[in-house]
Subunit: 383 residues, 2 copies
Amino acid sequence: MTHKTLFDLPTPSLVLDRSKLARNLRRMSDTCARNGVSLRPHLKTAKSIDVARMVLNDETPGIAVSTLCEAEYFAKEGVSDIQYAVCITPDKLERVAAIQSIGARLVLITDNAEVARAIADAQGRIDARFLVQIEIDCGENRTGVLPGSDQLVEIARILDAAPNIDFDGVMTHAGHSYGCRSLAEIETLAEAERLAVVTAAQTVRALGIACNTVSLGSTPTALHARNLDGVTEARAGVYMFGDMFQAQIGSCMVDDLAVSVLTEVSSHRADLNHLTVDAGALALSKDRSTEAVPNDIGFGLVSDLRGRSIAPQMIVKRVYQEHGLVPVPDGQWLADYPIGHRLRVFPNHVCMTAAMYDRYHVVDSASGNDTEIVAVWPRVNGW
Amino acid sequence: MTHKTLFDLPTPSLVLDRSKLARNLRRMSDTCARNGVSLRPHLKTAKSIDVARMVLNDETPGIAVSTLCEAEYFAKEGVSDIQYAVCITPDKLERVAAIQSIGARLVLITDNAEVARAIADAQGRIDARFLVQIEIDCGENRTGVLPGSDQLVEIARILDAAPNIDFDGVMTHAGHSYGCRSLAEIETLAEAERLAVVTAAQTVRALGIACNTVSLGSTPTALHARNLDGVTEARAGVYMFGDMFQAQIGSCMVDDLAVSVLTEVSSHRADLNHLTVDAGALALSKDRSTEAVPNDIGFGLVSDLRGRSIAPQMIVKRVYQEHGLVPVPDGQWLADYPIGHRLRVFPNHVCMTAAMYDRYHVVDSASGNDTEIVAVWPRVNGW
């Protein structure tokens, strides 16, 4: 059965507004062009070839991914330049080789000399050349080596010397930009991110080793960096869709949010002044990132079917596996939102929410008919 | 490619220990038999026909589910007695009728007179008979009507009078048992749950309306109720697998946990005394339920490949989309857990974690070879 509008789609479902997506993509492309760097969109949020096709072009030929499952999917769909932006482990190299054999250039990252040696040692055993970048820690304190460290030098020398490896450069990710609470903080952190990766590139070049790629990025820093001198590319992912957390840390406006969950009112409790919707912990995810920002919206901001917020206090306050609980001021609200009434919920963290679905139901709010489903786009989940 | 052991399976993957599952199933079956009630296993956690087949038999012919997608899946697999244990909305009735046409008896629940009227009004429009129970609130304050309330009477009369409806009884769910912190509290709450649903049945019968089913349940109350007089069936789901939260509220022991996530060490930070594993927010879920119990294990307890806990402090403390961060006391631990070393993580809330995967890799710790994969069982996700 083909569902034609948000009125006949089963609930819960994942809704993607194509015109808002296009606007978000253009904003980041323009920002990167202004900063003189290539954009390498990170598809870890969208996980969709249809979204990738909207952003890929001659100036933006490559993507980043977060799983080998994504890499396989995009390679099969014809994407030829893919960075697997999570530290590689040696037992995954055979799968990497298989993805390259589909026709994709698959760039790996590492922050470890033992892993670099293990890739070099695959020579003879795995019939493939590996493209490898070194991950730099610019202050996130998660993975990566420090910009001027002995480890960086050691790994670069191992990669450069190995006959089966093409050393491709350095990369970093300022994931700690999610902790910023002002544009000034983001700008400062973006400069720290730039300095870290440019310094790392200089460290490598001082060894006489070419360092083609100097890559950085997170949605907040890619959007708000004032200067990207020495950087070759910026990566970002969540900017495509935006979410309630990103809206509160300055990456976008609530009106920019391209992804929401279609739901309907499933129960009323007049005695307790709440209603439930049929989007709960699985449909929204249990991400609580807005707990750390000024406006805690629980598990999601409730909007009408056209995506307009109803009231600031109209939020999914609690979730159970298949129930979302929405407190209301009084019984009049229950009359206004009867059982079966359809709503949309904007989530805290769209990467987590979208991962619960295998497809997007695409609408186009700029078309004049913002409840018509104009396309269904599959997603790739899992590992 | 068929993976034969936990050593060659891609990471992250979902691992199910069949012998622990069997032990958990037997414990609940024995408890229900001792209490003189039928068991209606809730498949919202397992979402697997292979798991359903382990628990269904002549004494346990029916299941509960939390989505119509599950109902469709189990009906197609031949399960003939299914309760959809989330309040029905009128626009889902056509889908209910389609599931019944596969051959399943599909019991619906409602807590609302308008919905009861809408089901009655489907007469003539939808060619189906509907089996409906009334949901009772036993203190969870989520959905349901109160046991002696006017609403209960009104709904029962509507359902009883409708020619296209078979009124099937009353049901309740003591989900607030998850807030209990002692067995005494659970026993008290189990008695409140029993009293609520038995009182509701008496209210209905006093109207001259038959009330065949008197159903209750949650894993803690179904396991620890001291008396289920007047109850016909108990429902529970998470008991099949258990998780770190259930272990801490007295539903099981850590050694009973049947589901874990296979992962491997992906990075070392000697300068920060941590390692990362390749199971992050998507592989484990962002559920933080152990935040509310004495022993907060972050996003999961790390164990060795055979499922034995390594140290109480060896937990996934932070998650990023594909990284789990595990603090370690000192560098010796990094030497002991090199990159590529395989581990298993026991999650906070297995319903949320399992939902991130489309299959279980089944092992059997009682077989003497606890890393061999003896089966692959699919799961049904989505709505």
